[in-house]
């Protein structure tokens, strides 16, 4: 049996007394695209941030490519990984944020080669060659020396995707990548993501773009109030939901 790219078992997460994740179970196979949909405040983004350990989980187990995230298990006890070890794991997981979060003081090229040269210790020349290749794929050749604020939101987000891809990740996380964009710029980012999905990248996407979910996702998981209410292939979940909560949500957004 192939080890799933992501295996989640009974993950719970609380902020103080408020439980945001109430026992999440999920599996994503390598090469699959999973879309997390649902109302805001349902815990989608928090769950995504748990996957690369930006948030610590309170209970359950979370494995990326068979390896526990953020911890090491020895003789039935969990040991927290050091900052350096967590960073090594994170380097294998790319993440794209709603607000792009490009480094404002660096040019496009510098943004992209920063982590490969500092974290993976790749030579600068090699990193630049790779960065240029990736920029060409997302249609941003020639913008290497631009600063983030000189770019449109859509261009910034495509640079952010490129920056994540420059680390050659095994898994890509997208946290509402088009929510901060002007409507006419959403398409270019979704197109870049679709190309990426077609190239066989494993992706977990928190999104409100149901059209994208229908077209690209292998699995759609509907989350509400800290739980995955329903999940399955897009045509089943989106067009023929079984749960009441799912039905009422999609009747409003579709």
């Amino acid at each position: 049996m192939i080890e799933p790219a992501l295996r989640v078992e009974g993950v719970r997460k609380s902020y103080g007394h408020v439980e945001v994740l109430k026992g999440i179970d999920m599996q994503v196979k390598p090469g699959e695209v999973a879309c997390l949909v649902g109302p805001s405040g349902s815990g989608k983004s928090t769950f995504l941030r748990c996957i690369n350990h930006l948030e610590k989980i309170n209970s359950g187990r979370l494995y990326v490519h068979g390896e526990l995230v953020g911890y090491q298990e020895k003789k039935g006890r969990l040991y927290e990984l050091t900052d350096r070890e967590v960073c090594q794991k994170r380097a294998e997981i790319g993440m794209v944020f709603q607000s792009f979060n490009l480094f404002q003081h660096m040019s496009v090229l510098e943004n992209i080669i920063e982590a490969p040269t500092r974290v993976l210790k790749i030579s600068k020349e090699e990193a630049i060659i790779h960065a240029r290749e990736l920029l060409e794929l997302v249609g941003l050749s020639g913008r290497e020396d631009s600063l983030p604020k000189q770019l449109s939101g859509g261009q910034q987000q495509r640079v952010a995707i490129t920056r994540a891809l420059a680390m050659r990740p095994k898994l890509m996380l997208f946290d509402e990548p088009t929510s901060a964009l002007d409507p006419e710029l959403v398409g270019e980012v979704l197109a870049a993501m679709q190309d990426l999905a077609n190239s066989g990248m494993t992706m977990i996407v928190v999104t409100h773009e149901m059209g994208f979910a229908r077209k690209v996702a292998d699995t759609v998981a509907f989350m509400d109030a800290g739980l995955i209410v329903e999940s399955g292939p897009p045509d089943e979940v989106l067009d023929n939901p079984q749960q009441e909560r799912t039905k009422s949500f999609f009747s409003k957004v579709l």
Partner: protein, 324 residues
């Protein structure tokens, strides 16, 4: 085309082009005029006094202003300013990082430091350090509650110069800490999050992403602090340390030429402050441009042109819509 039709025989009187020029009477600011006249008068009185009052004794000012003792004092003042400010910035950065640490003990320790050094007068601190041997006659290096490796007499170890540097730098560190913390706190949290998500360590994130962006916010107040430091060094005259002010004081104590020598000192302070202000201006400009980063002037112009182009394109798009 439509225009021509309108301009035809329908309008009987030709448009008077003169009528379109505004010939309004501007508001008279009588208050400002009176204030201006008053200030001019004050300035004239002051200049006349400076030039004609013989008690200023400009000859003596000229005699001393580039004399050896004064220049030695000036050199010490500058050394104190540079060294104390530099150490203050280092202490400030460390304290700021401690205050933002998730470790409560580190954060609280930094808070207590800042609380103490901002809460007591610098003059008191300087005198305190000067007399530290009254509290600790012996200073030793070793492991607490363990063996001692080295031991020395506090009075020999802590010279007035060391006291001055210690006092000024420790005090400055408290103020710089708040400035640096403000700069770091002002950086969007998304910046450090995306750095973390890329696998950068805490230190890498701080050094490569946060601090370079915070510098821009930190520079202007640091310039002010440096100017302040230059003048604050005059407090070390209580330690009988021969800085600019103390040198002037020792000379006039002997010759009773108090005013001319205070003028000598003031002129030097003013001169150096002016140079620092000038430097601060360029540093600020450099770092605000550092924001548009390493972009030449021509590229910036190009940037403006491109925005203008896009807005005109929008305008054209609007026109097209209207035609529809």
């Amino acid at each position: 085309m439509d225009f021509k039709n309108e301009q035809g025989p329908i309008s009987p009187t030709p448009v008077n082009s003169k009528a379109t020029i505004l010939n309004a009477v501007p508001i008279r600011h009588y208050g400002r005029w009176i204030a201006t006249v008053f200030l001019l008068l004050v300035a004239m009185v002051m200049v006349k006094s400076l030039l004609t009052n013989p008690r200023f004794r400009w000859g003596i000012v000229g005699e001393y202003i580039i004399s050896d003792p004064i220049l030695d004092g000036l050199r010490l003042t500058l050394i104190l300013t540079v060294v104390a400010q530099f150490l203050g910035i280092l202490i400030g950065i460390i304290l700021a990082i401690m205050r933002l640490s998730s470790n409560r003990v580190l954060a609280r320790a930094a808070w207590i430091y800042i609380w103490f050094f901002r809460g007591t007068p610098l003059l008191v601190q300087l005198i305190f350090w000067y007399n530290i041997s009254a509290l600790y006659p012996e200073i030793a290096i070793g492991i607490p509650f363990g063996p001692t490796f080295w031991q020395g007499n506090a009075n020999e170890l802590i010279t007035p110069f060391a006291v001055a540097i210690l006092g000024l730098a420790l005090n400055e560190g408290a103020y710089m800490a708040e400035i640096v913390r403000g700069g770091i706190a002002g950086i969007d949290k998304g910046q450090s999050e995306s750095a973390k998500a890329l696998g950068m360590t805490h230190m890498q994130t701080l050094r490569r992403v946060i601090l370079p962006q915070a510098v821009k916010v930190i520079i202007p107040p640091t310039g002010n602090q440096t100017i302040l430091m230059l003048k604050t060094t005059s407090l070390v005259s209580v330690l009988a340390l021969a800085d600019l002010l103390y040198t002037a004081q020792t000379i006039y104590a002997r010759t009773f030429e108090t005013m001319p020598l205070l003028l000598v000192a003031s002129l030097w302070y003013l001169g150096i402050t002016s140079v620092l202000t000038f430097g601060q201006f360029f540093l600020e400009r450099h770092f605000t441009e550092g924001n548009q980063q390493r972009i030449s002037f021509t590229q910036r112009i190009a940037g403006r042109v491109s925005t203008r182009k896009s807005s005109s394109q929008q305008g054209e798009a609007g026109k097209v819509n209207n035609d529809d």
